[in-house]
Symmetry: C3
Subunit: 216 residues, 3 copies
Amino acid sequence: VEENRHLSLALAAIAEIDFRKINFFSIGNGARINQRETSPSYTPSSDITIASKLARIVLPSSHRPPPVTALQPWYEPGDCWCAAPAEGSLGLAQLSVSLGKKMLPRQVTIEHLPKQASVDIKSAPKAVELWVPVTVDQVEGAPNCEAGPDGYVCLGSFTYDIHGPVHVQTVNLDAEVTVPVDKALVRVKSNWGAEHTCIYRVRLHGDLVDGNDDVE
Amino acid sequence: VEENRHLSLALAAIAEIDFRKINFFSIGNGARINQRETSPSYTPSSDITIASKLARIVLPSSHRPPPVTALQPWYEPGDCWCAAPAEGSLGLAQLSVSLGKKMLPRQVTIEHLPKQASVDIKSAPKAVELWVPVTVDQVEGAPNCEAGPDGYVCLGSFTYDIHGPVHVQTVNLDAEVTVPVDKALVRVKSNWGAEHTCIYRVRLHGDLVDGNDDVE
Amino acid sequence: VEENRHLSLALAAIAEIDFRKINFFSIGNGARINQRETSPSYTPSSDITIASKLARIVLPSSHRPPPVTALQPWYEPGDCWCAAPAEGSLGLAQLSVSLGKKMLPRQVTIEHLPKQASVDIKSAPKAVELWVPVTVDQVEGAPNCEAGPDGYVCLGSFTYDIHGPVHVQTVNLDAEVTVPVDKALVRVKSNWGAEHTCIYRVRLHGDLVDGNDDVE
Ligand SMILES: [K+]
Ligand SMILES: [K+]
Ligand SMILES: [K+]
């Protein structure tokens, strides 16, 4: 019964995000990856069977999804972008996204394959931050973030919880901008124990500048 | 609570259409677009950022989905067919579909990205009509339609309501045919204020001639 | 009301399988088709309209999905693998799958387009068996299966019921292995009356060897 309630919560959460919130990280809304500010992608190094190793040689592209995968819908295990393990300023995984519309960020949604359906849940993100290219005086609020890149200000720090009842997790940002933005960075600062980090999907919600207000 | 009820209604409506009704406009059921009787497709003219303009040059195909898109599933903003603004006999958007099976039309389903998740809801269809290639004496009922193409009779006129609680809207046709058809036209006569019109999906339901009745 | 209950059951069943069970037949989990032990694919011989016959000439690939289709998600009529009618040891349809992970099989899920949404429900599977490459003394339990291939032991025999309330049907296997496997055969022994058999999706569930137990 508790389990059924959790499944209903998950379906309702997904429907609410799909049907009730603009996703400014959607390709269809004009979002694009900035490769230059995005972590390199991970190439898996091992599988258990010879058949799957041969398959990888024949179908190499299916084993290294590009960063844009993190902006697209997912349906199956592996429909995710994995960042290569890296040292330095990009953290475990950094995703830089140019938006197609000017907007005011309010919420972020992180999605991952549920723990019970996953064979490698340790690569899920844990601590995540959102940064935007504004100045400190264009932000109201004081999120508790780690050091970040020059030219960006942090709007929120939050945790993706693999043990949560719903695997699609939306959080409110800690700070607000006073000017619209058309770019954002997602920075993963920790994961659940793997040497690489995978993102099934990340969405950015907020207020559209020049919206639908005059529809009758 | 009211909002949750609306989301549950939406999920139930989608499941009912997916699981309980034959869609004669499905490619898998043999449906095909008749290009000659279908409106030309729209090419968007502007986006806000330079990045998205460059992306369009690199990926032009992603910006002009063909008419068959209106018969296929959608998951994201932009998974729709948009008709070019046009004058003359095709109206705002006309879609001509050859069916893979002979059938008796009963209902039409129109789908669009929900208003709250959309950055340009004005391009949604408003007044829609369904026409089939029969003679007037092969139709029972008198729908209130505008003028239409030679060789076709109107079976129904209805409104897609962007303010409705559910964004997947199924309507009963106003008239019935006395002979099976294997072709239909969807004609959009008005939209919600844009200069072009987009269709996320249209489905045709009804009775299959030569069906599954003898399954044990 | 009864119908709404059935739709809710279907949505809950799908969510439970997608969100709560590892699918060892998922491509993303390393599963691959063994072509050599898999039935040849079916090529449909007729459609009703000339337009659809022409379309098949232009788009032949869309009309003969390969066996891997039976391991992938489906959304529409035709998103299935159909086996060619055959005589001999493969039965109506045999699908051989190499797994990407070593595991202990517990359950199988069979999916098909619901009867009410289908134009040819007779090609759905009816009697289905699961076989794995172990010896008889590595199996506990005695399923009631037909004769099978050398080198394999049957773990379960079950029926896919097209009249059931939910079209996604999960069954417990009748027997358990005492050693992990990394390969399995799905064998369809009968269908609902067609001369060929189609599988929308089959999933294999069970216990992962070397799992997520140490996640904190
Ligand atoms: K994805
Ligand atoms: K579509
Ligand atoms: K499939």
